[in-house]
Symmetry: C2
Subunit: 467 residues, 2 copies
């Protein structure tokens, strides 16, 4: 983290394109560019040009003209990194890109590390840490939901308010610590009423953010779906039908990697992710009963649970299965009961079965299907899509998608609860201050007021070079 | 070729990068950008901004914010295409790139065809046709020589002078055609002396350009090398040694495609291309004697001919082989005589052999090698590199690399010779004018004064989209 160096990197995707952009940031960026840039008439030095301007000319070293380029000029602090910046837009030959980058290095720039431009933006106070992380999420986003959440976070969607609340808490905490110096005199600098209010406000806000993590993750990685049901009821056939036959065959061949395969399908732009489908496909008997722990865990991770029933069983046994699974579900989880093998039943039989199940479990969503001969599969995917859309539109609120944030928020919630308990118990100031500092630290970890090289290293190593 | 439309395309390499650039060109480019761009404070319309400026803001459609971007603004005629242009520098997610491009299309832009930006630059008179072609060469360039030649051509390296000469000839031709109208009066508007001079000047210039094609091609595609020698002398072993063993084995396995494989090696950054090595490797007996036509053709295409001799043959037979091949070579071609199987001879034997060959053929370059056990192979590659460097440095002059240009130049040379002959024979004006028009047409084909949709289509279809 030597901020006095000037860094350079190719910022556009690797490979050949019409144009490519090489960016440079640091106090010497403009001076280095001036060494190798010759403007077309009139002759001019970039050093003397206004920021936010574009200049046409050639990149040259002595007699050797490398390329004709456009140079975009930015000056500290009004740039992405907060430093002087130069962007060179050259012809998109990989050879030329590499040559120009090497020339910049020969003239004194250093090759940028992954994410180093954004790291500098953070260190120079252009964005907080959660915003910096959102930049990488934005670049990696491949769906509308992923893009929107990353954008929101990059624009300070949740960290702005957190920072404001933290600042207020910092002031009050400092006042409480000041009281410690005057402990003999029993003065009260920090308004306890105000502190109480603020801590409650923060607790409710931070809890809500932490809870949004499950939704955030859903939007980022796909909506988790579990297929439950007794052995041999046709779970793997249904999955294969949903994944379309050919894909399932390919997965079967690639048996060695199946443990890590997560099957996803994309319906109408929304991704659905099948929880633990690898195991499910490998052996039909892993869910020996809905009561076993492992199946419960899998089901608890799902947003949508599809319970597959075999209509040839006794209705009492079917009702039991529905009851068993309903017990394990939270109100946020959606249950879909699928009556499989519908091709083997008369319509009358299906209706009777549906009525009997509804009697025991009102409001049950049911669909007769045949995974084998594709009855009602399009209705099923339509239901999945409808539910996915509901989930997506729920997310107009700020949501958390980053595990690091979730962990810090969870720790903040705990610390805030300690503070609340302390206030209720009239805990001594030194113990109260200890818990308050805990809150400040955990929230500060999210926005980057509290950080260290290891944390930064972990965050930025996953960036692309040039960002 | 509807110049009244506004076109848009992703201009950077496909895939994910830190940033990506989407460009738009046409009379509505700025107006379309204004519909979807919101500048950060202060609010402003791009329409009211100066050209060559950069603007930070967001791409949005109603409530939906797509991304935070930088917009670069160019105004006709001072832009690449000569039209209004907008470049949007966005986050490099493929999803975001695609979304913004689709938004531009919804707002009235059309997806650009391959090379359409450069086609417009040509049609708007920003560059001539040979310069436009050089843009594609520059983007595709993957070596120093390729880059330099493309740059030179893009900057009007050879077409500027051609255009000037053509303009002069056009004036004189028009004057001669004017004389036709006054043919009864025997007037002479066009100065014959001047015409003679100009035609001679053009003939010498155009011939030189046409001749440079072989060098240009060498620099673009690699220096052609032929390995000659009698059957079983070890040609394929030498080639395999040069290509390194492993590569040759791979090629052997891929036997079905071998007819189209051209073997190239890169020594010190210079590419050497082995002429017809596929055939050479497939069967040892294709050069049954150096006299057969096919071998001659292959050898005539090479810049460097390596004649491989078997020292166990009679010296008289070896001398014959050298004589035979020397007859077929032009002064520009370089001959290297390799005495193979050096591992089976004493040093004395080699020296004696070299002396005897030199007696018959002074200044012969000779090297004893063993292709089998790698004797002097590094000396051989060093010699190739030295020769390659000479070839490259020869090319400070303008060189032609484009077959289309070469053909037009060759036709121009023929037409100029017809004009010269006509002037010498005092040909009637109408016949002279006919030949002059021929010259004008062929030269105009290079620079694009003479063209048609089919020619343009062929040229630009090989461009990337976004250029």
């Amino acid at each position: 983290m030597q901020l006095d160096t000037t860094i350079a990197a190719i910022a556009t995707a690797p490979g050949m394109g019409a144009i490519a952009v090489i960016r440079m940031s640091g106090s010497n960026a403009i001076a280095i560019a001036d060494k190798i840039f010759r403007s077309k008439s009139p002759k001019k030095k970039l050093e003397n040009q206004k920021p936010y301007t574009i200049h046409f000319g050639e990149i040259a070293d002595g007699d050797k003209v490398y390329d004709e380029v456009l140079i975009s000029l930015f000056r500290a602090p009004r740039s992405y990194t907060g430093e002087n910046m130069v962007e060179i837009s050259c012809h998109g030959s990989q050879f030329i890109q590499q040559q120009i980058l090497e020339l910049l290095v020969r003239q004194g720039a250093q090759m940028a590390q992954p994410g180093e431009f954004t790291l500098r933006a953070f260190l120079n106070g252009k964005m907080d840490l959660s915003q910096a992380e959102a930049v990488a999420d934005l670049i990696a986003s491949s769906s509308e939901a992923g893009r929107r959440i990353a954008m929101m976070q990059m624009r300070g969607g949740f960290s702005d308010l957190l920072r404001q609340l933290r600042d207020k808490l910092l002031t009050l905490t400092s006042l409480i610590e000041l009281e410690l110096d005057f402990s003999d005199e029993d003065v009260e600098f920090a308004n306890r009423e105000q502190l109480n209010q603020l801590v409650n406000q923060m607790h409710s806000h931070v809890s809500k953010l932490a809870e949004s993590f499950s939704l955030g993750n859903v939007l980022k990685q796909g909506i988790p779906v579990a297929i439950a049901g007794k052995p041999n009821v046709g779970k793997s056939t249904l999955l294969n039908t949903l994944l379309k036959e050919e894909r399932a065959i390919v997965s079967d061949i690639a048996g060695t990697t199946r443990d890590t395969i997560e099957d996803t399908i994309n319906i109408g732009g929304i991704t659905f992710r099948f929880v633990d489908t690898a195991g499910l496909r490998e052996t039909e008997d892993y869910v020996e009963s809905l009561g076993i722990e492992r199946a419960k865990t899998k089901i608890s991770q799902a947003d949508i649970v599809m319970l597959l029933l075999d209509p040839t069983e006794l209705v009492r046994r079917l009702e039991e299965q529905v009851s068993n699974i309903k017990v394990t579900l939270t109100p946020q989880q959606r249950l879909l009961v699928l009556i499989n093998k519908a091709d083997m039943l008369s319509e009358e039989a299906i209706t009777t079965l549906e009525q009997q199940l509804t009697k025991a479990h009102p409001l049950l969503e049911m669909l007769p299907i045949s995974a084998r001969i594709h009855i009602n599969i399009d209705k099923l995917t339509h239901l999945l899509l409808e539910y996915g859309k509901q989930r997506i539109t729920e997310s107009d609120d700020v949501v958390i998608t980053n595990l690091r944030h979730y962990q810090a928020l969870s720790e903040s919630v705990k610390a805030l609860e300690d503070v609340k308990a302390g206030l209720a118990l009239n805990l001594p100031n030194d113990l109260l201050a200890f818990h308050l500092r805990d809150v400040l630290r955990h929230i500060g970890e999210i926005t980057g007021e509290f950080t260290n090289d290891e944390v930064l290293g972990n965050i930025f190593k996953n960036f692309c070079i040039g960002k």
